[in-house]
């Protein structure tokens, strides 16, 4: 039996002292050591069969800021319900909201949940929204869950599981998996352990400048270290794995001759939709899909009246493009409305607006926003990776070639294409990549910008374009299942996570 290292000696000694199942964190605080180091040492002693190391996973729940504020002030839907009750069971929405003292931002949330819970009924009477009480008492399991967690109760009883799920979905409660390590010495090795602990260390530990200078080291024996020990985890500085992935994508694109470009998160709908020939009444532009900016300003400016005039004409009647357009009036109010950009393609158009001469190659990898509740599969923010190529004589075959090349350089060997559909490209394609475990996944949608998009910019050469979801590629390559892990708030996970090309 090999001897023990100093660390192992300390930990094992402590375990003998405890002589019962004890948690790693307790050992760590007792020994004034880092948790990580103690776990690493425990692992190494467990490998020798001297101790039994158990790991347990358990879910922990804690209130978010929003959750905490609702414990204090009550759930907005509850406040709304009581306000309507106060007002005699029937009230105009604005009056009830004011009576409840709800901020404008909480209005939608409160109405939505009061209706989903079946507490209130909503009616439109002559254009006014009326709220009507439907139940006598507003019973909310969400509220009970919040109260319980606020009291410091870690365990939520199963009868409140539904409430907990809703609270997590509404981001009132945060759910985390925690790992716990517990160790105990193995009874039938006790004798061996005690003899190991009783051995005194022989030899010297450190080589010092004095020993070297005096040549005294020739008379010393060096106490051996266990060099076969698994190294402990340490927390040196490093980059975020998702950013490393994005850095890599950028390197690939620059290597292919693409110029990086920038565009703002807050856009007018002119850039986000209209220049891309998305009809003004398109469902994707409604509040359930796209974030609108309400404060402090809700409308912006047209960048260039001449460009505006051409975009308007293209929508209304096709302008000089040979298209029929959407044959509907174009609204200046809608086009100047501010929104959070819902894709990166507006940046491609901003680039072309400033660089209308061929040849051009541009890319951007950046964030976009969509009105979604945060869950394992949906996030209100996502990274998109857009590229365009403008040159004389470019074709659909060239677009396929570029997409295939980008995929190849990212390690995707097999790519196949099918026709696709996007409002701003024609022809449009969708590239599918063969993933080892996921099968064929849609990774590379693209197309050639429609004349309705390029002609108002004064461009006649073909512009090939694509917009790839960078997050999905990253998740597939990192085997991440939960989209929230892209922006993980868990430092311990981040310290362990890495991206390798």
């Amino acid at each position: 039996m090999a001897e023990l290292t100093i660390g192992e000696r300390k930990v094992l000694g402590k375990l003998v002292e405890y002589d019962k199942l004890v948690s790693a964190s307790e050992l760590a605080s007792e020994l004034q050591e880092r948790n990580e180091r103690v776990i690493s040492i425990l692992n190494s002693i467990a490998e020798k069969g001297l101790i039994r190391l158990d790991t347990r996973e358990h879910m922990t729940h804690r209130l978010t800021d929003e959750g905490r504020s609702y414990v204090k002030d009550g759930l907005p839907e509850e406040r709304l319900f009581h306000a309507v009750m106060d007002l005699g069971g029937l009230a105009k929405m604005e009056a009830a909201v004011a009576h409840a003292g709800l901020e404008q931002q909480a209005k939608g949330i409160s109405v939505n949940w009061a209706r989903r819970n079946g507490w209130l009924e909503i009616e439109k009477v002559n254009g006014t929204t009326i709220l009507k009480v439907k139940v006598e008492n507003a019973e909310s399991s969400v509220k009970n869950v919040l109260a319980l967690l606020n009291k410091g109760n870690a365990n939520v009883p199963t009868k409140l599981a539904g409430g907990l799920e809703t609270a997590v979905e509404r981001t009132l409660v945060e759910e985390k998996t925690a790992k716990m390590f517990e160790a105990i010495i193995v009874e039938n090795r006790r004798g061996e352990i005690e003899s190991l602990l009783s051995q005194t260390a022989e030899g010297i530990t450190d080589l010092t400048p004095e020993l070297i200078a005096s040549d005294e080291w020739r008379n010393c024996t060096f106490r051996p270290y266990n060099v076969e020990l698994a190294p402990a985890f340490v927390n040196y500085g490093k980059k975020h794995p998702y950013n490393e992935f994005i850095d890599w994508l950028k390197e690939v694109l620059v290597g292919m001759g693409f110029n990086e470009w920038y565009g703002p998160y807050v856009e007018t709908e002119f850039w986000n939709n209209d220049v891309l020939f998305v009809p003004q009444d398109h469902v994707a532009r409604e509040v359930q899909d796209q974030f609108r900016i309400a404060e402090p300003y809700d409308h912006g400016d047209i960048p260039d009246e001449e460009y505006y005039r051409r975009v308007k004409a293209v929508h209304e009647n096709g302008g000089d493009t040979g298209s029929t357009g959407w044959e509907a009036p174009f609204s200046r109010e809608v086009t100047t409305r501010l929104c959070l950009r819902s894709h990166t393609t507006p940046v491609s158009i901003r680039y072309l607006w400033e660089h209308p001469e061929s040849p051009q190659k541009m890319f951007i990898i950046d964030r976009n926003f969509r009105s979604e509740s945060l869950s394992a599969t949906h996030a209100q923010e996502f990274n998109q990776f857009d590229g365009i190529i403008m040159d004389k004589g470019l074709t659909l075959r060239d677009l396929m070639g570029y997409l295939k090349e980008v995929c190849h350089r990212m390690g995707i060997k097999k790519v196949k294409f099918k026709p696709g559909q996007f409002p701003f490209t024609e022809p449009s394609i969708e590239g599918f990549a063969k993933h080892d475990t996921l099968g064929w996944i849609e990774v590379a949608p693209g197309g050639i910008f429609r004349p309705e998009v390029t002609r108002p910019l004064g461009i006649t050469d073909p512009v090939l374009a694509w917009g790839i979801g960078a997050g999905r590629l990253y998740m597939a390559s990192m085997d991440i299942k939960d989209i929230r892990d892209l922006y993980s708030r868990d430092l311990t996970w981040l310290r362990r996570a890495y991206f390798v090309r």
Partner: protein
């Protein structure tokens, strides 16, 4: 544009459920599921799921003509060479009339109607027709706003049918599915469909109403049919179909898709004359195809395929168009009246490529010579990230959207924030205007992780700015903090000095004492670059720590970076 998400947003894909046997009967060809899947894949559609009997097909919303089993079968027939060219549907004149009364112009101006006789019906088929009606009104009709469709028992209607504005209180009929009569306001306020679609018309003083000559109500468009004339079941053989709406082209197209789908089920089409109050009369449905000219050269140039005139004609016929050569290199293409997606010759060119077969197109790479580079600001951000990693910091990445509590209340700050009007949750309702609160929030969530915690983030923040065209200014920032049992402001300043010197700012920087509520008095300062305040640093005040629920001391700095990646010297 993009996969995941992005396009799911711009493109809402529609699912059509088909009975496989029914579909293949209409296609008139025996196919395995795999063959069917391969063909659909190449036609822009996709199989969502399938079992032995049912197949669910995902349709792109531009192909509104494929939102039914009948429509999918029609497209497959030409694509698989069972048929070629445009499907023809003869329309007989019925001579029957629909009279539009004055006063609807601002409410719901347009109506188009048709009759289908001898159509096959069964419980399953009725469900399918209803599904098509629903799918069309949702996508093409924009949730009934632009167009809505009604189906009625033709034999029970006394013509002419009258389309007129009516006072809500004067409207009275039993809505489909009930025996109880209701007045207009009751339907809009209490009926399930009324609550859903009432807002489309309820702002008007008068509402659109369809009645027959005996005064029986057909429907209150776009909300609901009556229970008497509007109840189509498996005994119905002859149908009357109407589409009302605010956009003429959309209304006509919806009718064309509906009636041609029914004609696929053996129905014979008959037209109706719609008389408008201004004296015009229009015969609907009008299935006359639109004509468009296509230069073969343009198709070849955009697709990169070598195409002869004859080949191009054949590919178009495969995609359900009629086309003929009109002089060398020029084609006249007839577009079926049920196709809604052809606005420009490029739309035909895409179909030529689909007809050619996406599986046969060879990718190529042109020699477009450009030299690529990163933005200067990206290089600057990367350099700072490298320096921070070198000083031992873990990079984190946070959402740009956050809550006013984190940005303002907890931070004891009151700087203006850009806020969305339609947040899904308050936690993600404003854009961050600083990184420090985001990092403090991160630290508050990691109090059980090992100490010391040294974290940083480089990212953009957004400030309202009335002078900008988008009313916001987006500025790159860097922020870095240490949380530990003991923190040391001198050590932090040493690190800041290291970073700034390595950015070439050694001779330009100065630190000056600063007093702000988020930092402890006497332990805070600002970073001046060429005399301009560009950043702040200090030890976070216990008040702020308490607000964040943080139990250990924190030192931090945050600095603005130049948008163009270069400091003005």
């Amino acid at each position: 544009m993009a996969s995941q998400g992005i396009l799911r947003e711009v493109v809402v894909k529609m699912l059509v459920e088909c009975v496989i046997n029914e579909l293949l009967k209409l296609v008139r060809k025996k196919l395995t599921i795999q063959q069917l899947e391969d063909a659909l894949f190449l036609m822009k559609a996709e199989i969502d799921k399938s079992d032995d009997e049912i197949i669910v097909i995902e349709i792109n919303p531009d192909r509104t003509d494929m939102l039914s089993t009948e429509g999918i079968a029609r497209a497959l027939r030409t694509f698989l060479n069972v048929d070629s060219g445009m499907a023809e549907y003869p329309v007989k004149k019925s001579g029957l009339e629909v009279i539009v009364k004055p006063g609807l112009k601002k409410i719901r101006e347009f109506i188009a109607c048709g009759i289908v006789k001898g159509v096959q019906t069964s419980d399953d088929l009725i469900k399918e027709y209803m599904h098509l009606q629903e799918a069309l009104t949702t996508t093409h009709g924009r949730n009934r706003k632009k167009a809505s469709i009604g189906l009625y028992v033709f034999d029970e209607i006394e013509f002419p049918v009258i389309y007129r504005p009516a006072k809500p209180e004067s409207i009275r009929f039993a809505p489909l599915g009930t025996e109880i009569e209701m007045d207009g306001p009751t339907i809009v306020n209490e009926h399930e469909k009324g609550v859903l679609y009432g807002p489309i018309i309820s702002k008007h003083k008068k509402w659109p109403l369809l009645i027959d000559s005996k005064g029986n109500t057909l429907s209150l468009p776009p909300i609901i049919n009556s229970n008497t004339l509007g109840q189509v079941d498996m005994t119905t053989r002859n149908l009357f179909i109407e589409v009302t709406g605010t956009h003429k082209k959309t209304v006509d197209q919806a009718l064309n898709i509906m009636v041609t789908s029914l004609a696929e089920r053996g129905g014979n089409l008959e037209s109706v004359t719609v008389r408008y109050p201004d004296g015009t009369s229009i015969i609907t449905p009008n299935l006359t195809p639109k004509k468009m000219l296509l230069k073969v050269e343009n198709a070849a140039r955009l697709t990169g395929l070598s195409l002869s005139d004859i080949e191009t004609v054949n590919y178009l016929r495969k995609m359900g168009y009629d086309a003929r050569i009109k002089g060398k290199g020029n084609l006249e293409v007839k577009i079926p009246a049920y196709r809604t997606d052809v606005l420009h010759p490029v739309d035909l060119i895409e179909d030529v490529a689909i007809g050619y077969g996406f599986d046969r197109i060879e990718p190529s790479i042109p020699q477009t010579a450009t030299s690529g580079k990163l933005l200067p600001v990206t290089r600057l951000k990367n350099k700072i990230r490298d320096l921070l990693v070198g000083t031992g910091y873990q990079e984190i990445k946070s959402y740009v959207m956050t809550s006013p509590e984190i940005m303002k209340t907890k931070m004891l700050r009151n700087k203006p924030l850009t806020a969305t009007g339609n947040p899904k949750s308050r936690d993600y309702s404003v854009l961050r205007n600083s990184l420090l609160p985001v990092l403090l929030d991160f630290a508050s969530q990691n109090q059980h992780a090992d100490y010391p915690q040294r974290i940083f983030e480089v990212g953009d923040v957004v400030m309202p700015d009335a002078r900008e065209k988008t009313r916001t200014k987006q500025v790159p920032h860097v922020c870095r903090l240490v949380i530990d049992t003991h923190v040391n402001i001198t050590e932090m300043l040493t690190e800041v000095g290291f970073i700034l010197r390595n950015l070439g700012l050694g001779s330009k920087i100065k630190f000056a004492a600063e007093k702000t509520p988020e930092f402890i008095d006497g332990r805070a300062g600002k970073i001046l670059i060429n005399g301009e305040p560009m950043g702040i640093f200090g030890e976070i005040s216990p008040e702020v720590l308490r607000n964040f629920g943080i139990g250990m001391p924190v030192v931090a700095f945050e600095m603005e970076l130049p948008r163009n990646g270069m400091w003005v010297m």
